[in-house]
């Protein structure tokens, strides 16, 4: 028995030492996979590994917080840096399973565009919820403003909208004349909610499809099912660039949203994780990512470093943010259920 204990102890010790040695120069970064992770690999992982000679291990997740939360609660944290959405960053901060970000080491919160510097996560990219149309359907000039999406007299034809109140209600208010900066103040009141649904009423019969998956909008445009649809900008850009489609994005009234780096509490490589995050939050490095995917950088200084031919298609281009709002994760954490219930009721009427 004693001998067995000794053996166990020594093997555990060996493992611990090996683990420590192993942990010193490897970093596990978890992201969403696909073209998005590919762009991070080119822009961040490879240069970082080269500079620090640290080894980066990649992992994937689907955004279900249960796994991340479970890791922190059981003390088995195997992810050092995780790419999260604002709703995760908010929940992780509230429930205490994400580290707080020290912005003094990242050039201060003011270096970022509005809403990108969250308490427990720092945004690296901006994606836009926009609406796009098929240029072939509008030979005499297509729509240019958010109001045009709701103007079926001037721009007839079936539309598709997202089957969710998120961004859909904001678009309705902006089309109704609300300034993007005030959209959540208005939507926070019962009158504002009524106003948004009233505006949606005006095009309800023209909305042929309510989409649920990000892959649907470009497909619906390509099939000629609809003439315009709300979408995530990366999907439309991809259809234009890689399938040669003639789709045009209308940036007016776009909703900007983020993807952010977060560090789960209890990671054994916090120091290296901090180093990695700081490495990516550098205008020169961050500006690289938009070469590989059509999402914009979050550092004000990085936006200026993106080549102009790429910048044109990014949500953060000055030209494209003239009339934009930032999707408020705080607002939706409070109102999601109430508005979704009402939205579903409205849909079924």
């Amino acid at each position: 028995m004693m001998r067995l204990n000794c053996m166990l102890l020594s093997s555990v010790m060996t493992l611990a030492i090996a683990g420590a040695a192993f942990a010193e120069d490897t970093l596990t970064v978890t992201s969403w996979g696909g073209a998005y992770t590919k762009s991070q690999e080119e822009a961040f992982f490879k240069p970082f590994a080269k500079e620090t000679s640290a080894k980066i291990l990649q992992d994937e997740w689907d955004g279900s917080t249960a796994k991340l939360k479970g890791m922190v609660e059981t003390g088995q944290v195997t992810w050092d840096v995780v790419d999260v959405e604002p709703s995760h960053a908010l929940q992780g901060c509230d429930e205490g399973w994400l580290e707080t970000i020290d912005y003094s080491k990242l050039g201060g919160k003011d270096a970022f565009i509005d809403g990108a510097a969250m308490d427990c996560a720092v945004a690296t990219i901006v994606f836009g919820t926009i609406y796009a149309y098929d240029a072939a359907k509008f030979p005499n000039g297509g729509p240019t403003t958010m109001a045009d999406l709701f103007d079926t007299a001037k721009f007839p034809g079936p539309r598709a909208l997202r089957k969710s109140p998120k961004t859909t209600l904001e678009f309705a208010l902006i089309a109704d004349g609300v300034k993007p900066a005030e959209v959540y103040d208005v939507l926070g009141t019962p009158e504002g909610v009524d106003r948004a649904f009233k505006k949606l009423d005006t095009i309800k019969k023209d909305v042929k499809v309510w989409w649920t998956a990000g892959a649907q909008p470009p497909q619906l445009l390509a099939d000629g099912e609809v003439v315009m649809t709300t979408a995530w900008n990366g999907r439309i850009y991809d259809a234009v660039k890689n399938s040669g489609k003639n789709f045009k994005i209308v940036w007016d009234g776009q909703g900007m949203d983020f993807n952010l780096w977060a560090e789960p509490k209890g990671s054994k490589n916090k120091e290296l994780a901090d180093k990695f995050v700081a490495f990516t939050v550098n205008p020169d490095v961050m500006a690289q990512q938009s070469k590989y995917i059509s999402y914009g950088p979050t550092l004000k200084a990085a936006i200026a470093k993106v080549p102009p031919d790429i910048l044109v298609d990014l949500p953060t281009a000055p030209e494209n943010t003239k009339n934009a709002f930032v999707v408020s994760s705080e607002f939706w954490a409070d109102h999601d259920e109430e508005l979704t219930e009402r939205f579903n009721k409205w849909l079924a009427q």
């Binding site: 429930e95 205490g96 089957k163 926070g188 649920t212 099912e225 409070d334 109430e338 009721k345 079924a348």
Partner: protein
């Protein structure tokens, strides 16, 4: 002599009784043995199927989050009259709780209070973040964070959220709520969505059964009467949908049915349909019924086919030799004998259709979402487990009631799968 016979009779009776007893004990022994044989499976099912589901369903009434996170506040509130302004003692108790309790517990309470009053989540969390560094007197500290803490209304909400069990979720899933006095009433018309969805789920499932039966019965009869290679080929065609993924099949229907899809293009080419107005076959109820029928048809065909296989053709020949015309031979012999298969298929299709949501979400219109869509929304998107569990309970109870009705009308012993 008489006595002797009586004794004989008694003896016989006693012998009878012991025989019956022995038989009984033999029977119960056999039953016990049978039970022991299936015990591993029974225990396995209980552990991995019945128990987890039961535990999950208890979340529909579980409300212990508040009492776990706010013990001092709740004991201070129990003495409060719900009208007077909150005093310093109450604020101090609340501050102690917010400082001591784990943050995830506080977040859970905040989320629950938000169901009663939208906006309370951020109000409580903001307060919890700030109050950690506050010093007494707490009254001023709380009001500095949010003046709303002075109004009794918010403290009443916290008090109402404190019982360990709640019927809030179960009522909400039937579009009901309790008002301030505790009386049950209907929720406002624009938020009453669940009852409609439940009725819709029922209607869609029932429609799918009727269509499946209409298509499946003749097909099953054809397969049952075919021989060898033909029967095999037909069976393989029926089973084919089982070997493709549900998502692929659903997407294939999108390609076929849409406005510029295969079917509409063919009809336009034939001149049967005006190109400007193609048939609306998708993103509405028609699309849902077509796609669901396609996916569920094998579940109807296979039980009916296996029952029909066991009906001897001799019976029908006997009926016609006794002078029955084909129609009445079918109605009086074949149909009643194939009924167990029909009821088995019907029950299978119904229970499966009741839980569908991917298909209606992709090929349905805005008015075609079923109950499962909402269960998925509550459990994955907003992690409101109470609501998800309550809706699941309602769904389960609805299925059990239907099953009971079915048992009364058809009789479960008449059900045959093969």
């Amino acid at each position: 002599m008489v006595i002797a016979t009586m004794n004989d009779g008694d003896e016989a009776r006693i012998a009878d009784r012991t025989r019956v007893k022995r038989l009984g004990s033999a029977k119960s022994k056999a039953q016990l043995r049978a039970l022991l044989l299936i015990a591993p499976l029974l225990i396995f099912l209980l552990l991995v199927f019945v128990l987890p589901i039961a535990v999950l369903l208890t979340r529909a009434v579980d409300n212990r989050a508040a009492s776990a996170a706010l013990p001092y506040t709740l004991s201070a509130l129990s003495a409060w009259d719900e009208e007077s302004a909150p005093d310093e003692a109450l604020f101090a108790a609340f501050a102690t709780d917010l400082k001591q309790s784990p943050r995830d517990q506080i977040a859970e309470v905040a989320k629950r209070l938000n169901y009663y009053e939208t906006g309370m989540r951020s109000m409580l969390l903001k307060t919890a973040r700030t109050i950690r560094n506050a010093k007494p007197p707490y009254n001023a500290a709380f009001v500095a964070i949010d003046p709303k803490w002075e109004t009794p209304h918010y403290w009443t909400l916290i008090k109402n959220a404190s019982p360990p069990f709640t019927d809030y979720y179960l009522l909400a899933s039937l579009d009901l709520e309790r008002d301030a006095s505790g009386a049950i009433g209907r929720v406002s018309a624009e938020n009453a969505v669940h009852v409609d969805v439940l009725i819709r789920t029922f209607v869609v499932s029932a429609s799918v059964i009727v269509i499946c039966l209409f298509l499946g019965y003749p097909l099953a009869a054809l397969i049952a009467r075919s021989k060898g290679a033909v029967a095999n080929a037909l069976l393989i065609l029926v089973l084919l949908p089982f070997w493709t993924s549900l998502l692929v099949r659903t997407s294939a229907w999108v390609v076929l049915l849409q406005g510029r899809g295969v079917i509409n293009s063919a009809l336009i080419w034939l001149g049967l349909v005006d190109p400007a107005h193609p048939l609306d076959l998708i993103y509405n109820r028609i699309g849902v019924l077509i796609a669901m029928t396609h996916i569920l048809l094998p579940f109807m065909v296979l039980p009916i086919y296996s029952v029909m296989k066991s009906i001897p053709p001799v019976y029908l020949r006997a009926a016609s030799s006794l002078g029955a015309p084909p129609m009445s031979a079918f109605l009086r012999i074949y149909l009643p004998m194939s009924m167990p298969g029909v009821s088995a298929g019907g029950l299978l299709v119904f229970i499966l259709a009741f839980g569908y949501y991917i298909t209606p979400a992709l090929v349905g219109g805005p008015g075609d979402q079923m109950v499962s869509y909402f269960i998925a929304y509550y459990s994955n998107q907003v992690t409101n487990w109470g609501m998800a569990a309550a809706l699941s309970t309602i769904l389960l109870v609805a299925v059990l009631i239907l099953y009971a009705v079915y048992n009364r009308i058809v009789g479960i012993d008449r059900l045959r799968i093969g």
